[in-house]
Symmetry: C2
Subunit: 349 residues, 2 copies
Amino acid sequence: MMETHVVIMAGGIGSRFWPMSTPQLPKQFVDILGVGKTLIQLTVERFAPLCPKENFWVVTGQRYVDLVKEQVPQLFDDHIIAEPQGRGTAPCIAYACWKIAQKYPDANIVFTPADALVIDVEEFRRVIRAALDFTESQHSIVTIGIRPDRPETGYGYIAEGVKVEGTEICKVDSFREKPSLEVAKEYLSQGIYLWNAGIFVWNVDTITSALRKHTPALAATMDEMSESFYTDKEAEVVAELFPTCEKISIDYAVMEKADCIYTLPASFGWSDLGTWGSLRNLMQQDEDGNAVVGENVRLAGSKGCVVHTPGLSKVVVEGLEGYIVAQHGDRLLVCRLEDEQNITRYVSE
Amino acid sequence: MMETHVVIMAGGIGSRFWPMSTPQLPKQFVDILGVGKTLIQLTVERFAPLCPKENFWVVTGQRYVDLVKEQVPQLFDDHIIAEPQGRGTAPCIAYACWKIAQKYPDANIVFTPADALVIDVEEFRRVIRAALDFTESQHSIVTIGIRPDRPETGYGYIAEGVKVEGTEICKVDSFREKPSLEVAKEYLSQGIYLWNAGIFVWNVDTITSALRKHTPALAATMDEMSESFYTDKEAEVVAELFPTCEKISIDYAVMEKADCIYTLPASFGWSDLGTWGSLRNLMQQDEDGNAVVGENVRLAGSKGCVVHTPGLSKVVVEGLEGYIVAQHGDRLLVCRLEDEQNITRYVSE
């Protein structure tokens, strides 16, 4: 009988969500939705009934370790896995898996981003449990695929293949990059394409074997690092070896190469909360399509805006259509929603 | 030989300059121009060479007395004249004049708003000195008239009459309310209309006599109040009597009725700094007509805006034309410049 573990990947910087998200305080550590909880706290809460709190792990950047301790105080200190620098999702996942494997060789693991949003949490848990049931007895990798309700161009897609009899799980036919609008419309009409939510379910033996097979250099580095795990030397050894890993995503390293890849098509109301526009789409809107987080926000002659000013006591927005107005700390953004992909560039200039 | 005194009227709340100007901290107490000095401090500085600091007075609301002490520390405590409530400019001026008269019967006085802007300060001082020279020997009221350079609809106008020989001072033909654009254009083309800057020069005997003649009830109240002046009882007596004064402007009470009214037409670069648009007109603009006060303001695809975010460390404004973006404390405004007259309404709702 395997034990369920949950690994939350919390290393991103969420630069398209400036000014709320900054390198000092990325969006997963922010109460984006104005509900009194940060995204990582909502993620922990979503998974909490699936396994004891002793089985939670967070992978994050070295600089965010204190934030994780503060926001997820129930986490064991040695379950915070600190990357000395970001090297993509494959080294991130490998480090976590090697470390878990050493102490919990029977771990059956869900990997999840820290910053996505789920509406129907009960259905979400049912889906994750079904995927965990599958990988408990199968040498398989299951990705959660979201049934699309619009031709979204901001996500990668999964083409579903043959169904596994007696389950709701299918073989993956192929992974597809973020499409053009035309292609996304075609995907939507064909009905076999799913959004890739970046949620992976596998047992620890499956994923370490796959990494050994497809990325032997990475596996060798992990073997070398593993002697220091759970000792005083871990930070030092990892600081030396981890940055030598090839920078590579788990999709490219494993998912597109291995042959035991499955997907569980699901519908539980999901968003990667990647941009201000995605936040607006999810939020309750007034009759003019404005979505507001903040106190005393007075909108006049404004339509289709997202206003996010949680720290302010009084805001007046007049005569804007289709804009982001966001204020956080001592930073302010006013930007057309249609230009939101440029935010990262404006901020870095 | 008369003594020059300067009375700064600092009782307004500047609601069209929200969010920088608030009832708690009206614009005269704010560094609107981002020069390191507030408007009242700039006003004091502008008049400083005209008379010793012992001859400065400030009339303000009771709640602003501490702000005045803090920002104009050189002022004598009993030269801060505190109105228990605003009753218009006539009671404001009467209170100051009765109080000054009691101690300085030979005072020759300039009354000035605290929150106007003057570009050519040397010329301004020359003009004020010329007006003071006139009222030193004449039983006259001199208003400063600004030669208009555009058909401004936001100011009242003065029609100049016959010139006083050997001076640059003219009789006032009439005062005119804020005109429509059409009328303002007509005024500009006729060449005899001046903007009313709200700066008055008179000796204390002239103005008290005029008030006694045209507003006897107000004068009687002042006589009653004056027994308490410079005593421990002043605040109490004024709190009781001042609110009983009729609410009336000096223009209506005296200027439009008295027959010794003159104007000195002048050009020293003046603005009443009444609105965000007036501030933008005065500020240096980039090649797209944007005027900015603030650090690290990144403007992209934006034209004709005024951005005022002095307390923020980073601001991005994208895709706006002809807007105000102003952030102060925990308040934020985004509003079309052409709708700036509505700001007061938006804020009060």
